[in-house]
């Protein structure tokens, strides 16, 4: 009987250790993704292409600023376009073992997305988690940051127009500072 108890305890310990190392790996992945995105701190510019094409922004020159704030606990992303009134900010931060972003949208709502890094470590992809505020005018739904090299990265933003019609915007960015 005693060996049976010892065996059960051993199984519980093994399971607990496996779970702990699993959680550690997840946390480490989120931190790794966050650190990767922090390497993008600086000023960037590049042209945007849209699918389906949106004449109001197609081909426009976009400026992106990324900077770490809050003692390195948050990364602020800001995007503006030539001749455009839009000026959305996006905050990226760790939340427990997840990397999240909150997008303060020009449409007045605040979607949150959760980030995962690709196997090659070059891309951080954000999937929709939830949204606060009205989605009457649509909402940002998906984002992908791909690091090409120290002075070149791309961003892919998917906006859901009313009726859940996706508009995909791709921005090819070169570092200016």
């Amino acid at each position: 009987m005693k060996p049976r108890i010892a065996l059960s305890v051993l199984f519980v310990l093994i399971a607990a250790t496996a779970f702990a190392s699993d959680a550690g790996a997840t946390q480490s992945d989120a931190q790794k993704s966050f650190d990767k995105l922090k390497t993008l701190a600086g000023s960037w510019e590049g042209h945007v292409t849209t699918v389906p094409q949106r004449a109001e922004i197609e081909g426009k020159l976009m400026q992106v600023s990324l900077r770490a704030t809050s003692m390195g606990n948050a990364l602020m992303h800001e995007m503006t376009g030539a001749g455009r009134p839009d000026d959305p900010i996006t905050m990226l931060y760790l939340d427990g073992d997840r990397l999240l972003l909150t997008h303060y949208c020009d449409a007045g709502n605040r979607p949150r997305m959760v980030g995962t890094m690709s196997a090659d470590g070059k891309t951080v992809e954000f999937d929709f988690l939830d949204v606060a505020g009205s989605t009457e005018y649509g909402h940002m739904h998906h984002a992908v940051f791909t690091v090409i090299d120290a002075n070149h990265h791309t961003e892919d933003w998917t906006y859901m127009e009313p009726g859940d019609k996706p508009v995909h915007a791709h921005v090819d960015l070169q570092r200016t500072k």
Binding site: T69, M71, I89, M91, D95, Y104, D106, G108
Partner: protein, 141 residues
């Protein structure tokens, strides 16, 4: 008939209360927008620099506070975002400690100050030891 009248009064009262609450939040938000700019001051005797600006096509206000001697691009400063959520004016404080308290605004009876009370908080752990809990912003006149 009496119950119908009572119901109607109740509905009208509810509607006017909602309208008033929404209007107060919007009014406070608009007033905070008048603080846009760069500010100098002291905090516990230490010089500080505050920048307030409107973003997201007017849907958010960003507040940043740094020590006066630190460069603007220094990462060692908290950032706070103010925004309307339904009939409430909220703020999310991206704290140097790594947590993110949210607070909800109410205007003081004299209408001169927008006061933010603690609502909830994300990413807090006991190891952090403390968190931002309350904020007051004077309304410009």
């Amino acid at each position: 008939m009496k119950s119908l009248r009572f119901m109607l009064s109740l509905v009208l009262l509810s509607l006017s209360t909602v309208a008033l609450a929404q209007s107060d939040a919007q009014k406070s938000f608009d007033k905070l927008k008048t603080l846009v700019g760069s500010w100098e001051g002291t905090f516990e005797g230490t010089p500080i620099h505050v920048t307030i600006r409107v973003t997201s096509t007017g849907n958010a206000i960003m507040h940043e506070m740094t020590g006066a001697e630190r460069p603007d691009d220094d990462e060692n400063h908290p950032l706070t975002v103010f925004y309307l959520e339904g009939d409430r004016l909220l703020l999310t404080h991206y704290c140097d400690m790594g947590n993110r308290p949210r607070m909800v605004a109410k205007m003081t009876p004299d209408g001169k100050t927008v006061e933010f009370d603690f609502l909830d908080m994300a990413n807090y752990s006991n190891a952090q030891g403390s968190h931002m809990d309350h904020a007051c912003l004077p309304r410009s006149t």
